[in-house]
């Protein structure tokens, strides 16, 4: 799906089928399939508890699946665990760094553990600190870094051994907007270098912005997969937003359109419904919502956002059935 991936190679960096995992009798993953082309960015999108971290831990060889197979960088995560580890890196939700070591010492240590000789590890650390805008802070203890700096150091650490596949588990959770932006830029930079990035997120804008390919995970099941554009198309190409003059009108419009509603904003008194954007359908929808012509003050037709997709796909079953 990613042009970059197709151009570079037809091989898949990640290939999984039927992955399942239970913890203490609770099914966390119920058999998921994934195909990520080499050199692309794939986002695993889902709410808390969807099974994102479990998926990453299995692919990164830190957990074993109860069922199913997975190959990462061409190696089986079960049988060739060591080979897989040699080709990947994982950045988890907690910054995996020593607060009492400086940024430079942390990177040097990781470099040495990744098999670099002493001098090469030192060079690589300097290179990465420069690349991630941490050269100024290289000699300071990581414990004194801001959240965004620590996340960037963590990313730099992931890159030390020049992995082919990088796993990022919720890379921007808990960051302020400014740090999120710099982290995004850093991740986009990884992808530009030809590394395959597999990230999990609960933010739609993050997936939309970074990923070539998005897989939506909910309750341990993949409920959709494709590019951001494809996913948006799956739900509806357009959304018709109807803004009501009063809260009463808002409630009335909402109840008239129940089955088609994909977006609700009580504060702005806006009800959003899926539409193909044609004049005939918009007219029909307006008639259905507001037969007396006094409930809708204004309307707007806009492209569906990933939020619409997300809420549609991850809504509890009965609601999803309406759409």
């Amino acid at each position: 799906m990613s042009t970059r991936g197709v151009n570079m190679s037809n091989e898949l960096a990640i290939e999984a089928s039927g992955l399942a995992k239970s913890y203490a009798g609770v099914r966390v993953l119920c058999g998921i399939d994934l195909r990520v082309p080499r050199g692309s960015v794939c986002a695993l999108l889902g709410p808390n508890g969807a099974g994102k971290t479990t998926t990453v831990r299995i692919l990164a060889t830190l957990s074993r699946a109860d069922a199913g197979q997975a190959r990462v960088a061409g190696f089986d995560v079960e049988r060739d665990r060591r080979q897989v580890r040699r080709h990947i890196s994982l950045t988890g939700q907690f910054a995996a760094l020593d607060a009492a070591q400086t940024g430079e010492e942390n990177l040097r240590m990781i470099g040495r553990l990744a098999g670099l000789p002493r001098a090469a590890a030192r060079r690589r650390a300097a290179e990465l600190l420069e690349q991630f805008g941490l050269a100024q802070a290289a000699g300071r203890r990581a414990g004194t870094y801001s959240g965004g700096m620590r996340r960037r150091l963590d990313l730099a650490a992931s890159l030390t051994g020049r992995p082919a596949v990088i796993f990022l588990d919720e890379p921007t959770t808990g960051l302020d907007p400014q740090s999120r932006l710099t982290t995004w830029r850093a991740i986009a930079g990884l992808a530009a270098d030809g590394v395959t990035v597999f990230l999990t997120t609960q933010y739609l804008d993050e997936a939309d912005r970074l990923a070539d390919q998005i897989a939506v995970l909910n309750g341990g099941l993949l409920v959709a997969a494709g590019t951001a554009t494809e996913l948006k198309r799956r739900v509806a190409a357009q959304r018709l937003d109807l803004t009501c003059p009063t809260p009463t009108a808002f409630e009335q419009v909402r109840s008239r359109l129940t089955s088609r509603v994909v977006h609700l904003d009580p504060a702005a008194r806006t009800v959003g419904v899926a539409t193909d954007g044609s004049a005939a359908q918009v007219r029909a929808l307006l008639d259905q919502a507001d037969p007396g012509r006094d409930l809708v003050a204004s309307f707007a037709v806009r492209g569906a956002t990933l939020d619409d997709v997300f809420f549609t796909l991850t809504a509890p079953a009965p609601e999803a059935a309406h759409v």
Partner: protein
């Protein structure tokens, strides 16, 4: 092997940068020695000078307080996420633990020297020779290795670094209920059996034998040494095995 060295270097650097842990490991034994010698010492009548009697016991206590901080550092690694990074770099969990134990050995070597220097300063006069001195250091280091691994296993078993701190208090109790500070014969009868045979007593008595010429009481020197080595080696082996099982379970 090189991974082990890197991990040991890391643990050592972390110990040097954790001033409170370092201070605990160094100052606590010195303070306890001063308390025992000057406050309790006057009330303890054992026939010889109390400072001579108590210094081997303080060295043991020093080893315990120094080694048991391993529980905290191990627990921090497990809860902080860095263990996943090490594992994804294919560093075995046991090597990470071994790094902490190595740092603990070096830390304790330093604190032992410091405590011994203070002991000499307040009147402790060893009757020993270089070979026996070296043997005493060896016995102490084996004991430190055993206690450090035990503490590492404890750090793997608990879920928070605060709880890992408790390892120290449990282990310190072993030194109180032994011949480290008072002769076992002064204890209530029901405690004597335990006090005489649990590891702290043979280790203390072996140190006494090596530093002062003869153990203060009980078994002959050879038997104390055998018991001390057997206890330390046994605890070391059991703790290494236990921590291997625990780290596997913890990271599955």
């Amino acid at each position: 092997m090189s991974d082990a060295l890197i991990m040991a270097g890391r643990s050592l650097r972390l110990s040097l940068r954790s001033p409170d842990a370092l201070l605990t490991a160094l100052l606590l034994p010195v303070m306890l020695m001063v308390v025992f010698v000057y406050l309790f010492g006057g009330a303890v009548a054992i026939g010889t000078s109390y400072v001579e009697y108590v210094v081997p016991g303080v060295l043991l206590l020093c080893a315990i307080t120094g080694a048991s901080t391993t529980a905290v550092t191990v627990c921090q690694d497990m809860t902080g996420g860095i263990i996943d990074r090490f594992r994804s770099l294919d560093v075995p969990g046991t090597v990470v633990l071994a790094g902490h134990v190595t740092a603990s050995l070096l830390r304790n070597l330093v604190s032992t020297v410091l405590v011994a220097a203070v002991a000499v300063g307040i009147g402790f006069r060893p009757h020993s020779d270089p070979a026996r001195l070296a043997a005493a250091v060896g016995v102490l280091l084996l004991f430190v290795a055993a206690v450090s691994w035990l503490a590492a296993a404890f750090g793997l078993a608990v879920s928070a670094p605060e709880a890992a701190n408790g390892a120290m208090f449990f282990l310190m109790f072993l030194s109180y209920a032994s011949s480290a500070f008072v002769p076992v014969r002064t204890m209530p009868w029901w405690l004597r059996g335990f006090a005489r045979h649990q590891l702290a007593t043979p280790v203390t008595e072996t140190l006494r034998g090596l530093l002062l010429g003869q153990p203060a009481g009980g078994l002959p020197a050879g038997a104390q040494l055998a018991a001390a080595l057997a206890w330390s080696a046994g605890i070391l082996a059991a703790s290494v095995l236990l921590s291997m099982v625990l780290i596997r379970r913890r990271t599955a």
